[in-house]
C-alpha cells in the first residue's frame, strides 16, 4: 500500500462556522500582504488544492510568498440542511473572507475558486466588490445554456428535485458520486488499464492520489442541489441575469475586480464555452487563459505546475503590487 500523504501542508484553523472550516497555511517566509482565499466546489473535498507533496497548488502559492487561506466546506449534517447557494456564496464565504482579512490585516483578498467554487467567488465578488482584490476563476461554470455531459444528470425528466429534498435533506455523497460515475461507466476500467501500464512510481502515486480524492465524495444539502441544478443549470439564471440570492439579484456586470479565467480546453464536466462566457458577462476586466487539460488534470495533473499553477501564481503576485499601489 502506497502512503500518499494526502493534504500534507501544515495549517491553522481560523474559523469554524456550521460545517465550514477556514484554514490558514503556515509559511516559512514572510507573507505578501493580500491573502489568497481558495474556494473549492461543495461537491468534492477541499484537499484537491493540497493533494500530496509535489502535487499541491498550495505549495506553489506559498512558494511565491502568498498568504494562503482555504475554505473547507466540510460535511453538512442534517442540521445544516437549510444551507443553499446564497448561504454558501454570500453567507459562509463572507465569514471566510472576514477571517482571512482579520488574520492578515488586509482590507481586500484575492479569491481563487475551482469549479462551482469559482461560481461562488464570482457571485460574492459581484455582490461585494469592495472586499475582493481579484478573482481567479478555475474551470468555472458561468453560462450553462449548453451544460455538456452534465445535461444528462440535470435533465428534469430524470430527477424531481423537490421529492429528493423531502426524502434526503442532505443527499448522501455516494449517491452523488454514483451519478457522476454513470456519466462514464467504462471510465474506471480505462483508468485501471492505464494504471496497470504505468511503471513510474511517482506517476502511479499521482494517479492514485487523484483517484483517492475523486472516490472520497461529500454529501450535499438538497437545498444547495436544488439551487445549483434548478437555478444555475436548468434555468441558466446566473448568465441570464435572473439569479436572486438573499432577496437581491446577482448581477455579474456589477463585478469590478479583475478576473483571471482559467479554462481547461479538454474539460468534459464544465464545457470550456461555459467558462469563456465570463469575458462577456463580467463587469470588470477578464483575462482568459486556456490550458490543454481536463477538469481535474488542470489542477493536479503532471503539467499543472508548468501551466495552471504558474499562470495563477504570476497573476496573484502581480495583483499584489497593483493592490499595494492602490
Amino acid at each position: 500500500m502506497i502512503d500518499l500523504q494526502l493534504a500534507p501542508t501544515p495549517c491553522d484553523e481560523l474559523l469554524r462556522r456550521g460545517p465550514m472550516r477556514v484554514l490558514r497555511y503556515r509559511a516559512s517566509t514572510p507573507r505578501l500582504p493580500v491573502p489568497v482565499v481558495l474556494v473549492p466546489s461543495i461537491i468534492n473535498r477541499s484537499y484537491v488544492f493540497d493533494l500530496r507533496p509535489g502535487q499541491s497548488l498550495v505549495e506553489a502559492l506559498l512558494g511565491a510568498g502568498l498568504d494562503v487561506v482555504l475554505v473547507d466546506w466540510g460535511v453538512p449534517a442534517q442540521a445544516d440542511a437549510r444551507l443553499g447557494l446564497g448561504d454558501y456564496a454570500l453567507g459562509l464565504l463572507g465569514r471566510a473572507l472576514d477571517a482571512a482579512l482579520a488574520a492578515s490585516g488586509a482590507t481586500k483578498a484575492h479569491v481563487l475558486g475551482y469549479c462551482l467554487g469559482g461560481t461562488f467567488a464570482l457571485i460574492h465578488a459581484a455582490r461585494h466588490p469592495g472586499r475582493v482584490a481579484s478573482v481567479v476563476a478555475l474551470t468555472t461554470p458561468v453560462d450553462l445554456a449548453d451544460p455538456g455531459a452534465m445535461e444528462r444528470l440535470v435533465d428534469p425528466r430524470l430527477v424531481d428535485l423537490d421529492a429528493l429534498a423531502r426524502a434526503y435533506p442532505v443527499v448522501p455523497g455516494p449517491a452523488l458520486w454514483a451519478a457522476f460515475q454513470a456519466l462514464d461507466p467504462t471510465g474506471n476500467a480505462r483508468k485501471a488499464r492505464h494504471l496497470a501500464d504505468e511503471q513510474d512510481p511517482e506517476r502511479r502515486a499521482r494517479v492514485l492520489a487523484q483517484e483517492r480524492w475523486l472516490a472520497d465524495p461529500v454529501p450535499m444539502t438538497a437545498r444547495a442541489l436544488q439551487d445549483i441544478v434548478g437555478a444555475l443549470y436548468r434555468d441558466n439564471a446566473l448568465a441570464a441575469g435572473r439569479l436572486s440570492l438573499g432577496g437581491a439579484p446577482v448581477d455579474l456586470k456589477a463585478g469590478a475586480a479583475p478576473v483571471l479565467n482559467l479554462v481547461a480546453s479538454g474539460d468534459t464536466v464544465v464545457p470550456p464555452a461555459s467558462s469563456r462566457a465570463l469575458a462577456r458577462l463580467w463587469g470588470g476586466p477578464v483575462e482568459t487563459v486556456e490550458v490543454k487539460a481536463g477538469h481535474i488534470g488542470i489542477t493536479v495533473g503532471s503539467q499543472a505546475p508548468r501551466f495552471m499553477w504558474k499562470a495563477a501564481t504570476d497573476w496573484l503576485v502581480a495583483r499584489q503590487e497593483e493592490v499595494a499601489r492602490g
Binding site: A79, R95, R152, D160, A163, A167, R193
Partner: protein
C-alpha cells in the same frame, strides 16, 4: 513475438468494447423510456425514505424524544444567534476603532 501480437489484439478489443459500451450507455441515458424508468425508481426510493422518516419521528415523539426536525430548528435558532453575536461584535469593534479618533477631535470641556 506471438505473445506481443496477442496482447495488442486483446488491448485493441478491450478499447473497442469500452468505446461501444460508452456509446450505448450514452444513447440509453437519453432515451425517454430510460429517463422515465429511472425517475420512477428514484421517486419510489424517495417516497419510502420519507415514510420511514415520518414513522420514526412519530415514534420518537411518543417517547418525548427530540426529533431530527426539533434539532434542526434548534440549530437554526443557534445559527441566527451566532450571526447576531457576530454582527454585534463587528459593531462594537467598529465603534472601538472610532472612539479614540472622536475623543481626539472633540475639545475637552
Amino acid at each position: 513475438m506471438i505473445e506481443g501480437a496477442w496482447k495488442q489484439a486483446a488491448e485493441a478489443w478491450q478499447k473497442e468494447w469500452e468505446q461501444q459500451a460508452a456509446r450505448w450507455w450514452d444513447a440509453t441515458l437519453r432515451e425517454p423510456l430510460t429517463l422515465e424508468g429511472m425517475r420512477k425508481a428514484l421517486e419510489g426510493v424517495c417516497a419510502a425514505k420519507e415514510r420511514s422518516d415520518q414513522a420514526l419521528e412519530q415514534l420518537w415523539a411518543l417517547y418525548r424524544l427530540p426529533t431530527a426536525t426539533d434539532v434542526e430548528r434548534l440549530h437554526e435558532r443557534l445559527g441566527d444567534l451566532e450571526d447576531g453575536l457576530a454582527r454585534l461584535q463587528a459593531t462594537v469593534e467598529a465603534l472601538a476603532e472610532r472612539l479614540p479618533a472622536k475623543a481626539k477631535a472633540e475639545p475637552k470641556a
